[in-house]
């Protein structure tokens, strides 16, 4: 399902990253672990099609990302990938529900029952009509998970979802992510420096 080969990336000829090959089958989750500065975020952006590698190949769901135009990448992303960011981002002028509706609109979907069931599953249904800046940190994280899964992606990419959490919350969040991925039939790739997550994943690679 994901196969990378000899992926290289450099920022303005200053920072140079060469990533090890990844080979992930369908129905597998993956933990990518590494210290700061080894290019974790860069790799995640490459996998999400937000960046293009200088050389090598990234094959995701049998599509070669390096051969796609920026427009094709946008469209591939909205149909296949959900992203959970380290720090949650939202459209501040919209409510929780409207944020999810916007995500659906962008993917040409319109399904309020799915929004409701996701919010209920994440235990934040009663916050539907709240503006996102009225939410607590934990609620924000749940909404950002909801945003990542609302369009039924086949792959969820999570960037440092637990780095700022204590042990208790860390294990809660990772369990939640895994549950959501299973519930909605998606694979999960977590990129982190947080070694506490190792025990939650069968398959992991170190950068």
């Amino acid at each position: 399902m994901l196969k990378t080969k000899e992926v290289e990336f450099n920022y303005d000829n200053q920072m140079f990253f060469k990533f090890q090959n990844i080979d992930l089958n369908s129905n597998e989750n993956l933990l990518i672990i590494g210290e700061s500065g080894v290019g974790k975020t860069t790799l995640m952006h490459l996998l999400a099609g937000l960046l293009k590698s200088n050389s090598g190949s990234i094959k995701l769901f049998d599509k070669e990302l390096n051969q796609m135009s920026s427009y094709q990448l946008d469209s591939f992303r909205k149909n296949n990938i959900g992203i959970v960011f380290q720090r949650p981002h939202f459209v501040n002028s919209l409510t929780v529900k409207e944020n999810l509706q916007l995500a659906q609109y962008i993917a040409n979907k319109n399904d309020n029952t799915r929004i409701e069931s996701i919010l209920k599953n994440l235990n934040i249904f009663e916050k539907s009509n709240k503006k996102t800046n009225q939410l607590s940190q934990g609620e924000k994280q749940r909404v950002s998970i909801a945003l990542a899964i609302v369009n039924s992606p086949k792959l969820i990419l999570a960037d440092e979802p637990t780095s700022s959490l204590d042990d208790n919350n860390c294990s809660k969040v990772i369990k939640l992510l895994k549950k959501q991925a299973t519930d909605f039939g998606a694979q999960l790739i977590v990129i982190t420096h947080d070694s506490r997550l190792k025990k939650h994943f069968k398959k992991s690679i170190e950068l």
Partner: protein, 399 residues
């Protein structure tokens, strides 16, 4: 949810900065549209009441005053000329037709004009109720006068001397209302019209009673004549002859009115430059707003992109935000100018019994719409291009 709705939500999320740009634009568009409306309405009124009058002859004085008083009935007359002199001029072979009018009295601020019957024909006056006057002291009343003063057929009007309400009243002279005129959208709507004989009669007794020294007044006490030419070729020559060879004054309405508008024009032009400046400033303020909010919202733009929106969709959102503001600014500006016209009209009606009523959209206002749209597009262009070129990976990595 869609991009357009999102734009509107974004505007309402920042009500303060949005409303400043909006207020500036409303002010700019409003002032220009108000000036355009007033200019057009006043010009229309002036042209409408001119009715092809090529020349006016009256007593010496300011030619503009002569025109304003005898054609538009808004200024005091320059004085009186004798009937005999007026007859000589109207019998001149260069004169096509002429109408003599006399002033003397008013009824509660509305002027009583003594005139020949063709005066009413000139303004296409039609009698709604009652009949034409047959005898002295019988009057026809214009539509605004009877509506405002609630005058009915058969009422008796006690006039006061002069053209203002405060003049002394003629106890001897009561006018009888014999006819009411239909609204004609011209000056006769605000006049009370009677035969010249009535005006002469009432002032004859009045003068004998109180001013014994005014022997020179025969029965041509007050008289101003409006004369229509046969041929426009004479417009230049004939008034000059009158002005040079007699102690009368001849004035050409079209010339005086264009002179008046030139005087106005300078002020109007200055004010509209100021208004255009305000519109440009509103464009700048809009640009600064969008630029700042774009920086504040860079994470949310990056988010929208990662959700799969294209660069083009995001840029469209920025341009929409700007256009929603400028187009609503245009609409509010037009409303503002309409209220302005109503206000000025009510002021004018109070002071000179003129009113201006038109709510139609002028061609120049369509240009203003174009200008507003242009301002909207131009001020959002740089922010939209920046959003288009945004490096989402970099923004997200910096977070």
């Amino acid at each position: 949810m869609n991009i357009f709705k999102l734009s509107i939500k974004n505007i309402f999320n920042k009500p303060l900065s949005s409303s400043i740009s909006l207020a500036l634009l409303v002010l700019g568009v409003g002032i220009i549209s108000l000036l355009l409306q007033l200019n057009t309405l006043i010009k229309d009124q002036m042209d409408n009441n001119l009715r092809g009058i090529d020349m006016v002859v009256g007593a010496k004085g300011s030619p503009l005053q002569l025109i304003l008083s005898s054609v538009y009935h808004i200024d005091s007359p320059t004085g009186n000329i004798s009937l005999a002199e007026a007859e000589t001029i109207s019998n001149n072979r260069m004169v096509g037709s002429s109408i003599k009018i006399l002033y003397g009295d008013n009824y509660k601020g509305f002027r009583i004009v003594g005139a020949e019957k063709k005066f009413i024909e000139l303004y296409k006056g039609v009698i709604k109720e009652g009949k034409d006057w047959d005898n002295p002291y019988e009057v026809l009343v214009g539509s605004k006068v009877y509506e405002k003063l609630k005058i009915n057929l058969g009422d008796e009007l006690i006039s006061s001397h002069g053209l203002r309400e405060t003049g002394q009243s003629h106890d001897e002279g009561t006018f009888k209302v014999v006819g009411l005129l239909k609204p004609s959208n011209s000056v006769i709507d605000q006049l009370i019209i009677t035969s010249p004989q009535s005006v002469w009669d009432i002032h004859e007794t009045h003068d004998h009673d109180e001013h014994e020294n005014e022997h020179e007044h025969e029965h041509d006490n007050r008289e101003i004549t409006a004369i229509k030419f046969k041929s426009p070729m004479n417009i230049i020559q004939f008034p000059r002859q009158i002005n040079e060879n007699t102690n009368l004054q001849a004035a050409v309405p079209s010339y005086e009115i264009s002179r008046l508008f030139k005087l106005f024009g300078f002020g109007i032009e200055t004010l509209s430059y100021l208004a255009y400046l305000i519109i440009i400033v509103s464009g700048f303020s809009l640009f600064i707003n969008l630029f700042n909010s774009m920086r504040e919202r860079k994470y949310e733009m990056a988010l929208i992109r990662t959700l799969g929106a294209s660069r083009f969709q995001l840029s469209t959102m920025i341009i929409f935000e700007s256009l929603v503001l400028t187009i609503s600014g245009f609409i509010l500006g037009l409303l503002f100018s309409r209220f302005g016209v109503m206000f000025v009209s009510s002021l004018m009606e109070e002071s000179i019994n003129y009113n201006l009523n038109s709510l139609k959209i002028l061609n120049e206002e369509y240009w203003l719409l174009g200008l507003s749209v242009l301002i909207g597009v131009v001020s959002s262009l740089i922010p939209a291009i920046q959003v288009y070129k945004m490096n989402i990976s970099k923004i997200l990595a910096d977070a």
